[in-house]
């Protein structure tokens, strides 16, 4: 039972990352791509760390996996936010709403 759960979590984490990578490559806009890159840094590493934790218990490997998932989970959205900021600066030249966006009430 425990082995099956470990395998299911590891496969789910791997599949999540693979789906994010394929989706990332298929998108054409950087703002769409940010979603896939951010999704890859949240759930799949946590699922994978849970699998490692189940497999090796609260020993060195399990704790390392937990820390990796924690840092990836914390840092991924920060990079995504900074990346979206950079993309907007490079595309539009300002972070402020443009007159057109103001008019549309964004």
């Amino acid at each position: 039972m425990r082995d099956a759960l470990t395998a299911a979590l590891a496969v789910a984490g791997t599949a999540g990352l693979v789906v994010c990578c394929v989706g990332f490559a298929r998108m054409r806009d950087v703002f769409d791509r940010v979603h896939y890159a951010n999704a890859a840094s949240t759930l799949p590493p946590v699922l994978f760390a849970a699998a490692v934790l189940l497999d090796s218990g609260w020993r060195s490997s399990g704790m390392t996996a937990l820390l990796v998932a924690f840092f990836t989970f914390m840092f991924g959205p920060m990079v995504a936010h900074a990346m979206a900021r950079l993309a907007r600066l490079r595309r539009i030249g300002t972070l402020e709403p443009t007159p057109d966006e103001r008019e549309r009430g964004r």
């Binding site: 693979v18 990578c21 950087v30 590493p45 490692v52 390392t64 990079v79 950079l86």
Partner: protein
Amino acid sequence: MNLWLWCAAALMLALVPCLLVAARAAHEDALLALQLASTVTTVALLALSQGLVRPVYGTLALTLSILSFVGSLTFIRFMERHV
């Protein structure tokens, strides 16, 4: 090959789309591809650590997860200055 090594192999294949985007798309897309590739490599190192029973690879994954964040932010700050 055990399950962990199969997962690591699948994750290595998942790096191909990131490499394609990094090689062909605009700079900001390439930087995003680098960030995604770092996440994938981090998890692949965890899988290798379990599959080959080498805990030191787990330490490498932990180091990469922190340093890739710092590296990405450095690149972003650098590119923001040159807008």
